[in-house]
Amino acid sequence: MKRRLFVAGALGAGLAGCGPIATALNNSSALRGALGIVDGPDDALLGGEHLAQEYPPSAIAPVFRTNGLPTPADAAYRALLASNFTTYRLTVDGNVERPLSLSLPQLERFPQRTQITRHDCVEGWSVIGEWGGALLWPVLAAARPHRSARYVVFHCMDRDDSGVAYYESLDIPQAHQPQTLLATHLNGVALDPDHGAPVRLRVPTQLGYKSAKWVHRIELVATFSHIEGGSGGYWEDQGYEWYAGI
């Protein structure tokens, strides 16, 4: 009986003690790697070609909550904003045959799409809005990617307090999805600065941190291991999953 009581007590104590134990363990990158072995199966199971659910206009939230940082404060972005984005250029380069530099009117000449989808934040909240903009794939195709290009890296104009720029990445199948947009409009009007003006990525089948705001350069690469922390994105470098569909 005593052993049983001990076992029960140990389980209870174990539950309360998990936090501090895990805190100690978390300082080990090997452990992080070990826990991360489920990322591959998760991506394989949930990634796929399926499209996100689209909603009727009645589902649109009156206020679209801002995810991530508010408007970048640096001078370059302020100047761009002051020009009403007439000086904005979207660069597409890297492993491509024909690098592009597109103004907003040029971007608007690519195939457009509007979709009412739910934005799911990694923190747990959700909000529904209508996104409009250019399909990503035709823009990439116009730059004629080399066969060696396996990932699409999105470089952004915002930096954190340490000066690290936001970036994100998709693989080619994700970039190919018909809901993956270079969004320029939210709820029928041009994006405002807090929501990523003038151009942000929209990937409705993955969590919000994939949908990078203030995109100014799209780079096609064979691997992203040489970029910033090497994990394929700003939050990925801080331990979040590269496949953000879970």
Binding site: L11, D39, G239, I246
Partner: protein
């Protein structure tokens, strides 16, 4: 079966703790698809420094020290829904909380299947499941516990109420907590949107996921009390056979 039970128990402890860590990133639950404060069932917050509050169905309680204003896992008190001593990691770290949660979610599912298969093969499963005769005896058993009846109804290894609890946990709550968890994933939502709709939307699924956790914790508490009292109360010996006696790991 023994191994599956104990590994599952470990996984459950980690899943609860890392789940509370994840909850802390958005410490509220809405009965809706997108977040909607008008349909908020539970929220935990800190209206001002030094005060923690918990609001359930619109009723607010001061829960300073326990919920809302708690230890931040780094030795300080701060605005934090669940305290550091129940979360993994103890300090606020959503990224690592998610890693622990997703890894042990796989462990728990594999254990659940292994336990089902092995206990079915051994024949224990049949003894634990609620049968038609047990349903008739549910009330007499409860009446016995309430001292409205002098003798319990006849049963073999597990009494009808135990069987009802085991059946509900293994075949209803366990699958539900997996499915509601999946409904939170935008990838799974794209594959099986009807699943999310069935739970009332993504935020509602988050609420059900939390409720399933509460049900599992309630079961765990009763389960442990039964185990702990078994030797003390001799006449109840036949009620709780097997389970812990044979499954205690070598100390």
């Amino acid at each position: 079966m023994r191994i599956a039970h104990w590994v599952w128990a470990l996984a459950f402890a980690v899943l609860v703790s890392s789940g509370l860590q994840i909850f802390n990133a958005a410490p509220y639950l809405d009965a809706s698809n997108a977040s909607n404060p008008a349909r908020r069932v539970l929220s935990i917050g800190s209206p001002q420094d030094g005060v923690g509050t918990t609001t359930i169905f619109g009723h607010t309680f001061v829960t300073t020290g326990w919920l809302g204003w708690t230890d931040d896992g780094l030795g300080e008190q701060s605005a934090r829904a669940f305290p550091g001593w129940v979360t993994i990691p103890s300090y606020q770290d959503l990224a690592d909380g998610r890693r622990w949660h997703f890894f042990f979610a796989w462990v728990a599912v594999v254990c659940w299947i292994a336990w089902l298969v092995s206990s079915a093969v051994k024949g224990n499963l049949r003894k634990m499941l609620l049968s038609r005769a047990d349903v008739r005896n549910l009330w007499p058993m409860q009446a016995y516990y309430l001292r409205l009846r002098k003798t319990p109804p006849p049963y073999d290894e597990y009494n009808p109420l135990q069987k009802a609890a085991y059946t509900a946990i293994v075949f209803i709550v366990a699958p539900l907590i997996v499915l509601t968890g999946l409904a939170l994933s935008p990838g799974a939502d794209a594959i099986a949107h009807p699943l999310t709709v069935m739970f009332g939307g993504r935020q509602f699924a988050r609420l059900w996921h939390f409720v399933c956790m509460l049900a599992l914790i309630a079961f765990f508490v009763l389960h442990v009390i039964q185990v702990a009292t078994r030797g003390v109360v001799n006449q109840m010996r036949s009620m709780i056979t097997g389970w812990f006696v044979e499954e205690a790991p070598p100390a």
